[in-house]
């Protein structure tokens, strides 16, 4: 799968939840490449903003879209990677909020 195809698939799935991919296309493409890289490396699409444990059971909560996405978008308008954003920020190219990872170590 190409990064572009992954973006298309992710955008469709996100739209069903009322979310959007970030307006910065190059940022999204880089994120998609990282996701595909992680899938090749670990066997699953681990969040590129977090360190994988190389174990799907341990990383089940951080397979993209991660379990924390909804709460982060609700509170900050974007997920930890600023890959998914809320409708309010869907056209904002400069929207990269600093988000503390809510995942417990």
């Amino acid at each position: 799968m190409s990064p572009e195809e992954l973006l298309e698939k992710m955008a469709k799935a996100a739209a069903r939840k009322g979310y959007f991919l970030h307006a910065d296309r190059s940022h999204c493409l880089e994120t998609a490449k990282s996701l595909l890289f992680n899938r090749e490396k670990y066997g699953y699409m681990c969040c590129p903003c977090r360190l994988a444990a190389s174990d799907l059971k341990q990383d089940a909560d951080i397979v993209c879209p991660c379990r924390y996405r909804d709460a982060d978008i609700l509170e900050h308008g974007a997920c930890l990677c600023s890959f998914f954003v809320s409708e309010e920020h869907k056209d904002d190219l400069e929207f990269f909020p600093v988000i503390d990872d809510r995942r417990e170590g």
Partner: protein, 143 residues
Amino acid sequence: MEIETGILFFGGAALCVLIAVLLLKRKRPSEKSEQAEEELQGDQALYELGMNPISDKPILYSLTTCPHCKNTRSFLDAEHVPYISIFLDEYAGQQRTDLMEKVRTYNPRGSFPTIIMPNGKVIVGYRKQLLQEALAHVAGRTA
């Protein structure tokens, strides 16, 4: 009739062989992870520095895949600030665990990038203003 039975038999056998080959070729995630671990071997000098992060340059604990880490590196490059990047995802096993534990001593959330400035200040995430302030402070002290 015998010809039809023969065709069915060989056709079925060929199908079984094809399915077996496809199943063998398909790796499970855990197998991929083990393979990935075996292939990882980060820089030893950087590992040592990561475990004892004292430098006159900012030290970035980061990931090769993280967009915020990349933005931070681009910012420092644009400002012509020399820095040291330690990519945790280039390490495996105990070294990976050691480095992650070290990051958590500075940033309990263990998020990326975690930056140790030369004056010991810790900056978490891509925070342009905090970086500028910290760099100005360090420059003022060393001028």
